[in-house]
Symmetry: C2
Subunit: 214 residues, 2 copies
DNA sequence: CTATGTGAACAGCTTCACAGCG
DNA sequence: CGCTGTGAAGCTGTTCACATAG
């Protein structure tokens, strides 16, 4: 068996896609699926699906396929999303507010339980949207993180503040950062960082549509 | 020489990072840099920097390095961002509004020149923020795209509408889509798609912080 | 001596293809 | 048969190491 090895990051990202698709199948009332079905719905080869799942165990039955409900639970357990996960947000600018209002997180079991900023003008303001959140000073971060045992934080501050704030988050106990600041975060390699850099995406597209990337 | 080959997508994304760092160097008054400098600032090896640039030509001088100003212009020309680029936004929900307000795009030469939605309640409303944009019905997309010769569009609609709207965008003449909808877009392979899937990022972090990815 | 540009070696992810179970 | 699970092969991107230019 192969699940002793370390799963590659791309496989983990796809696991997340598989889970979402499995939930679609479940809502549609399907009880069984196959690596081909799943892959076809997501633009992935059937072999890839099997290989990815194979990193974590054996979940299917030859000749039959996978039980949708069962696989959903297994994948959730692998990802650690079988129970709701609380996260914090640091940086309540335009993007931060959009993240608070974004319903997609809650659908997948993530809840922003607190928001922080350094700007005195923002502190205390109720952010709009469902379950208004009071914006707290960043000095309160550590206390909130340890009280709620929070491991993941969203970082939505300007590039100039990114590194400093990331260090504060790590010091407060955060172990994974979803980084929206266009800057390299230098943190210990026991801290997971996943970055979303919108300008990089746009410039990649600019390159591709200009035919140079034909 | 090697620049006849097809540059890998990861190399193009890094090109975008190099450009940003070069601009930082320029503001700091540096006239010269090296692959080591550049890489160190971005967490990339010096060999990687040279290889990436090597896909597009020879820009440095052995023993000396790269001229900051010159390299900036070369990289901009490669990416196609040496002149401002107009883009459109489709989907004016929370995320769409945040994208309109996001200043990072303008800094890098991208401007959202029009916003579209299908919801009659949103159409016509001035969006808040600098240079208020009137939200137009999606039926106007084709006309705007062809009049401004727009090639790139931001797609920020719910997953359920993603595929349909993407097809409308392609039909209107869009050649590159920055997709925020958590759904696979099936478009011709002459259309570039770059997707940002926030839930996938978060679930990846959830996995990593739970020690399973240790 | 410094730093680029690049073929060659390497690593890691994906695809193939098939043995084996149902 | 159909479909999984998985070694083996293949491919793509990264790192190495060095010839070469300044």
């Amino acid at each position: 068996m192969a699940q002793g090895e370390q799963a590659p990051i791309p496989a983990i990202r796809r696991l997340s896609l598989y889970l979402r698709q499995l939930e679609v199948f479940e809502v549609a009332g399907r009880q069984t699926t196959s690596s081909r079905d799943l892959g076809q719905a997501l633009g992935v080869s059937d072999a890839q699906v099997r290989k990815d799942l194979g990193h974590f165990g054996q979940f299917g039955r030859p000749g039959v396929g996978y039980q949708v409900l069962d696989l959903i639970q297994q994948v959730r357990a692998i990802l650690g999303t079988d129970k709701p996960t609380d996260v914090v947000l640091v940086g309540v600018g335009n993007l931060g507010r959009a993240l608070i209002a974004y319903r997609g997180f809650a659908k997948r079991g993530f809840g922003i339980v607190a928001a922080f900023d350094t700007d005195p003008d923002k502190i205390g303001c109720d952010t709009p949207s469902p379950d208004p959140l009071v914006v707290r000073p960043i000095e309160d971060l550590q206390e909130v993180v340890s009280r709620h045992d929070i491991r993941v934080g969203l970082l939505a501050v300007p590039a100039s503040a990114g590194q400093t704030v990331a260090q504060l988050m790590v010091a407060a106990g955060i172990r994974g950062i979803l980084n929206f600041a266009p800057v390299l975060l230098r943190v210990g390699d026991d801290i997971a960082v996943s970055s979303v850099d919108l300008s990089v995406h746009l410039e990649q597209l600019a390159f591709q549509v200009n035919g140079l990337g034909s």
